[in-house]
Structures are given as C-alpha cells and as structure tokens.
C-alpha cells in the first residue's frame, strides 16, 4: 500500500517534503487502523491538487516579492542616473541600441507591473484546490512578469554599456540583485507546475478576476479608453517637463500605442481576453 502510494504520488508530481509527509501519515494511519486506507491513485490525485494550488500561490507571492525588489532597484537605478548628467537618448555608443534600450527601460516595467498585479490578484482569488486552467493562468502571468523584470535587469547592463552614466558599478549591482531574485522566483514558479492538478474548470479572464463579466464584450473599447487616458497623462507629464505640447505628444502617443500593442500581443497570454 505504502509503495503504491509512493508511486502514485511520484506519478502525480508530488515529491520531496509533501510526499514524505503523506507517506508518514499513511504509515501511522495503517498502524492505527485495520489496514484500510483507500485508493492510492485517488488520494495521490487529491494531494497533488492541493499541493499544486498551494505551491502556485506561494510561488506567486515569491514572484511578487522579487518583482517588488526589482521595482525598488529600478527606481534606485534611475535616481543614480539622475545624480549625474542624464545622457541624451541618442548619445549611446550605438545610437540604435541606445534608443532601443532606453525605450525598453520605459515600457518593459509597465508590462511587468500589469502582469505581476494580475498574477497576485488571481493567486489570491482561486480556491484550494483550484482548477488546473486557473493555476496555469497564474503561472503564465508570473512568467511574463518575471521575464519582463529579467529583461529590464539586462537592459540596465546594456544601458550602462551604452551611455556614460554616474555610479555604473552601483547600477550594475542593482541589476544583478534583481537578476538573482527574479531567477529564484522563476525556479519556484516552474516547480509549482509539477504537481498534476486534476480539478477541471474554465481559466477565466481579467473580467472574471474583477467580477465584471458583463464588460467582456467591450474589451477592445475599454483598452482603447485606457490607452487614451494613459497617453494623455504622458502628454501632460511631457508638456510639463519639456515646456511644449510637441514634447508631450512625443511621449504620449508612443505610450498609448504601446498599451494597445501590449494588449494585442499579450492579451490571451495574460488572460486579459479570451
């Protein structure tokens, strides 16, 4: 019975501490009882579903912590850059790479932020055990958020290589810190997908997350409004900072287009739409 349960647990992707615990309790139970324990396959499947949900939720918290650390490192890096003479976007060793890296440092954190918030939101909302499809959404959102953070850290290294900035070593150290924390969280997210979770159910989308399924049919309209609002805010900031409407538009229009492009490219991956 114990050997069979061990095999079933391994087949269901439950290994390590959880498997040891289940087997220890099974041994104790069988010693106390008249030898009846139940179907090892069914029990292993139920344990895998609980473990898979618990691990995914914990991995989401770990990912959110790593993303928060990366966010703090990101802000600190900009403060360090601002401490010296801030380089012009076209003054990189290779102007094309310099522009691309600078734009990436503006847009990637936004994708990371949105994916990270949605990841945690879903992770807190799902029951235990959760349907496998819902947990896949949590892990996909985590993967996008962590990939964005990883790319941001890489962009900082490129930025330092491209531009003459103050505090180079400190910025690289911050990027390294982000890299390590994000990599550790990514390993946890990957491991959380191993237990075979069996409950079936729909993956749902962001409208299920916020409890407004009636708005699902207006997805593109809502994103267009959001892109417009974010673009206008960026225009206002650019106008205020540089003094002309044209400078504001240079910031606002690409920002609005980026929101629409991100929705088109990542909408299904992040379960923003079906």
């Amino acid at each position: 019975m114990i050997d069979e349960l061990q095999r079933e647990l391994a087949a269901a992707g439950v290994r390590g501490r959880w498997a040891r615990r289940a087997l220890e309790e099974a041994v104790d139970h069988l010693e106390e009882s008249d030898g009846d324990f139940g179907d090892p396959h069914a029990i292993a499947a139920q344990i895998a579903s609980v473990v898979g949900t618990t691990r995914t939720r914990r991995a989401a918290w770990a990912a959110f912590a790593a993303l928060s650390l990366t966010g703090a490192a990101y802000l600190a890096a900009w403060f360090l850059v601002a401490d010296g003479s801030q380089p012009d976007i076209t003054s990189g060793r290779s102007p094309a790479v310099g522009v691309a890296v600078t734009l990436a440092l503006f847009f990637l954190p936004q994708v990371t932020f949105v994916a990270g918030v949605l990841m945690l939101w879903r992770a807190l909302r799902v029951p235990t055990p959760a349907p496998a499809a819902e947990l896949r959404v949590v892990r996909r959102r985590a993967a996008v958020a962590l990939a964005g953070a990883l790319a941001t850290a890489g962009c900082w290294a490129l930025y330092v290589q491209q531009f003459q900035v103050a505090h180079e070593s400190a910025i690289l150290a911050l990027a390294g810190l982000a890299l390590v924390s994000v990599s550790a969280a990514a390993a946890l997210v990957r491991a959380a997908g191993r237990p075979r979770v069996t409950p079936e159910g729909a993956a749902g989308d962001v409208f299920d997350d916020v409890g407004l399924p009636a708005l699902r049919s207006h997805g593109w309209s809502l994103v267009a409004c959001m892109a417009g609002a974010i673009g206008l805010a960026a225009v206002a900031v650019g106008w205020h900072a540089e003094g002309t409407v044209a400078d504001g538009l240079v910031r606002g229009v690409p920002e609005a287009l980026a929101v629409l492009a991100a929705y088109a490219a990542l909408g299904r991956v992040l379960a923003l739409r079906r």
């Binding site: 309790e25 099974a26 041994v27 139970h29 009882s33 069914a42 029990i43 618990t54």
Partner: protein, 104 residues
Amino acid sequence: MRADVSRGHLDLLLLGAVAKEPLHGYAIVEAIRDASEGAFELGEGTVYPALYRLEAGALLASDASTVNGRRRRTYRLTAKGRRELTAQKRDWSAFVRAVEAVTA
C-alpha cells in the same frame, strides 16, 4: 448516510472533530465515526487531502512528533479555524431550520 452528504460538509466535520482537542489523522476519522454513531464513514485516506487543504487555508495547524517510532502529525484548530467553525455551524443550523420548516 449517503457519502455525498458527508462529503458536502467535510470541512465542518473536520473542524468540529479537532475543536475539543488536537488529533492525528486516524483519530479524526474515529472521532467523527464515533460521535456520529457510525453515520459518517469518511473514506480513510481521503481525509488527508482535506486536512492539507484546511491547513493551507490556515484553518488548521499541525505539529509533528514521534510516537512508537513512527512520525505522527497532530492537527489543531487555529483562531481563524475556530471563527470558521462558528460560522459554518451557524449556517448549518439555519439550513436545518429552513429545511424543517419546508418539510414539516
């Protein structure tokens, strides 16, 4: 009693079983069977995934010890679990009263 009836109220039964004192897995199965005079026969091993789920929700906590050379895990109710038990008992009483009112 039909299995699906006890399964539908498994959380209430498990929380209620450990409300008086911490118990290990088999003792919980026995406590429920004895208290219900055999009405609730939980599928032995299937009680553990439910206990893990309640622990993941912080309704139960567990401690490991060694008894007769075997590792044993004992489950106890947390403060959150006690609040949940009170709420579930209240809901259950309201449900029973409503059914009795309809079927009387």
